[in-house]
């Protein structure tokens, strides 16, 4: 009931300090926009780095070379803690274009752990597909005369069959199912990719009798200590190594640190600005607050009056800021961020989600409550004798 009663006082106060109220709303709207957009970029970057890099399928894989005569090695490797699955990894096959589609040799490799890259044209490889490959969207070929690089647009090959031959003279008629995004750091743009099972079958055909080892691919559980496993593999006669995951995280780590610092600066600005503003307003209302205390208003009542007034203004600022953030993100920020980070596994985008909006609102309300509590304690020190002074 008391909170409803105080609405009359809050309305009177906001009306009396119209100009200050407007300044407070504008200031907080700007702070909310800055924090909402920055935090959304940070969250997206952090999530991408965690999900798309740290939890990338290629990062949850360990390759182990084992002597071909080491018969029990597979079972022992499969039984290690943290290993969820084991499969034989085929070797890449070097192909030459039989129909002169390409001048350079092409590596035929396989997609690890059923990884599905982003397909820019055509479709993904299906488990039922035979003799089907994914090509890079742009293939870096070579001009035979000038030796200069030629970029071949492979989208024109989608749906077509290309002829290749390997070093042993085996012929391959490979249908192009689709093209993959060349900015994917998990893939080598000089490779065309087929499924693991398909490449294993090709490997049997083009097997080099002098192969002395088998390569196994170990699928690992999340959070498995790879170094420990690498050491353990040695006990079973295996030489283990990580899949080379060609992504340079240093740029993204730096971006993340910079964004977090920027976010912290905005937060500090918000806290300081709001604190200074409210402090100034309260000091101008000494007589009013002294009167409330003289009439019997307790600390809790004073806190509710101050907090509700600024909470109302904050909510108005927040609603305005939410709308403007959406517009700013779409029209200004995201185009700038996209031009800074072109393609690739990780994206920099500002995308305000309901959860992040609620969290930011919660932070602002908590900061406001803390400031109002501090100011309420200040009002307790106001000498009520100010009421006895003449006008």
């Amino acid at each position: 009931m008391t909170i409803v009663n105080f609405l009359m006082l809050i309305k009177a106060s906001v009306t009396q300090q119209k100009a200050r109220s407007i300044v407070f709303v504008i200031f907080n709207a700007i702070c909310v926009i800055c924090i909402l957009l920055t935090s959304s970029v940070v969250i997206r970057l952090w999530t991408d780095m965690d999900q798309k890099v740290n939890n990338h399928p290629y990062n949850k894989e360990l390759m182990v070379d084992v002597d071909i005569n080491n018969k029990g090695a597979k079972d022992k490797l499969a039984a290690m803690d943290g290993v969820e699955g084991i499969s034989i990894s085929p070797y890449d096959i070097v192909l030459t274009s039989a129909d002169k589609t390409f001048n350079s040799t092409v590596n035929l490799s396989y997609l690890h752990m059923d990884y599905e890259p982003v397909v820019t044209k055509g479709s993904q490889l299906k488990s039922t597909d035979k003799d089907t490959v994914l090509m890079p969207e742009i293939y870096h070929d070579k001009d035979l005369q000038t030796q200069m690089r030629i970029d071949v647009d492979c989208k024109k090959f989608v749906g077509k069959e290309l002829n290749f031959v390997d070093e042993n003279g085996n012929q391959y008629k490979l249908k192009v199912a689709g093209t993959y995004d060349v900015t994917d750091p998990a893939l080598d743009t000089q490779c065309i990719y087929t499924s693991c099972d398909q490449l294993l079958k090709y490997s049997e055909k083009s097997a080099d009798d002098e192969n002395e080892s088998i390569t196994y691919s170990l699928a690992l559980a999340k959070g498995t200590n790879k170094q420990q496993l690498i050491d353990e593999c040695e006990k079973y006669g295996g030489v283990a190594y990580e899949n080379s995951f060609r992504i340079d995280l240093s740029t993204f780590n730096l971006s993340l640190i910079i964004m977090v610092i920027v976010l912290a600066v905005f937060l500090v600005m918000t806290v300081m600005g709001t604190s200074i503003f409210i402090s100034g307003c309260i000091k101008n209302r000494t007589n009013e607050l002294a009167l409330y205390r003289a009439l019997g208003y307790k600390t809790g009542h004073i806190f509710v009056i101050i907090f509700l007034e600024y909470l109302l203004l904050l909510l108005i600022a927040y609603i305005i800021a939410l709308a403007l953030s959406a517009v700013c993100a779409q029209l200004i920020l995201n185009p700038i961020l996209a031009s800074m980070v072109k393609g690739g596994l990780i994206t920099l985008t500002a995308e305000v989600s309901p959860v992040s909006a609620l969290i930011v609102l919660g932070v602002f309300v908590a900061v406001l409550a803390a400031i109002c509590l501090r100011m309420t304690n200040f009002t307790q020190k106001i000498q009520l004798a100010v009421l006895l002074k003449e006008k």
């Binding site: 009931m1 008391t2 409803v4 009663n5 105080f6 009359m8 006082l9 309305k11 009177a12 106060s13 009306t15 009396q16 007589n287 009013e288 009167l291 409330y292 205390r293 003289a294 009439l295 019997g296 208003y297 307790k298 600390t299 009542h301 307790q380 000498q383 009520l384 004798a385 009421l387 006895l388 002074k389 003449e390 006008k391």
Partner: protein, 224 residues
């Protein structure tokens, strides 16, 4: 009968200035007490102590036989809310609230009022008591000084306190409005309220039941 009894009040500021020197005074319900004195005599300080707007350096204050000077802050606030009403020289009305809304201010925290309609009804009754029923919806800026002070008196009555404490209530008013305010306070005393007025205006003397003079922090004997 309820009373305020102040015993041996001492107030020292900054360990140097003694504003009150062992002052004792009793205010009974139904009495109109006036404390007079020149500026700096300590009369406003005495009202501050009795009104629990500040605490004495030493001494006791009993309101309705309860020692209130040692209570915690929130308990003191409760005593002010239930037992005391204040009228200040500077009126201290909220300029953004209408006359009756200003009268409602003390009621907002009084749990005896169940809803806003009840408060508004009571506030308008009190506005009527002070003779301003046609001005209930006006803002303070639309009222004269005397009318504003009458609204302040109505506000002081909001929670039906036993005592009204007034500090120079006519300090900013002309002689015509002085009479109106003093008459109003006298009527309240006759209705059973304990009234204490601090003033240097001698025209109040005809309304007082008891008069005290303060000088240099010392309360003189009662004069009648």
């Amino acid at each position: 009968m309820n009373s305020i009894v102040a015993k041996d009040l001492v107030k020292v500021y900054n360990q140097k200035v003694t504003a009150l020197k062992e002052v004792s005074i009793t205010i009974n319900q139904g009495e109109f007490i006036v404390v007079m004195g020149h500026s700096g005599s300590g009369k406003s300080t005495l009202l501050q102590m009795i009104g629990l707007l500040d605490l004495p350096t030493s001494g006791s204050i009993f309101i309705n036989s309860k020692d209130v000077s040692k209570l915690p802050k929130n308990a003191i606030a409760d005593v002010r809310q239930k037992s005391l009403g204040f009228v200040f020289q500077a009126f201290h009305l909220n300029p953004q609230l209408k006359a009756y809304e200003n009268v409602m201010l003390p009621m907002l925290i009084n749990p005896e009022y169940k809803n806003k309609a009840e408060m508004e009804k009571k506030a308008k009754e009190l506005i009527d008591v002070v003779g301003l029923s046609e001005r209930a919806e006006h803002y303070p800026s639309q009222l004269s000084g005397g009318e504003q002070q009458r609204v302040a008196v109505a506000r002081a009555l909001a929670n039906d306190p036993d005592f009204i404490l007034a500090d120079e209530p006519t300090g900013n008013l002309d002689s015509e409005n002085e009479v109106i305010i003093f008459t109003l306070l006298k009527e309240l005393a006759q209705q059973g309220k304990g009234i204490m007025v601090v003033s240097h205006n001698e025209s109040i003397l005809e309304y007082a039941d008891r008069v005290y003079y303060m000088k240099d922090g010392v309360l003189g004997d009662e004069k009648r």
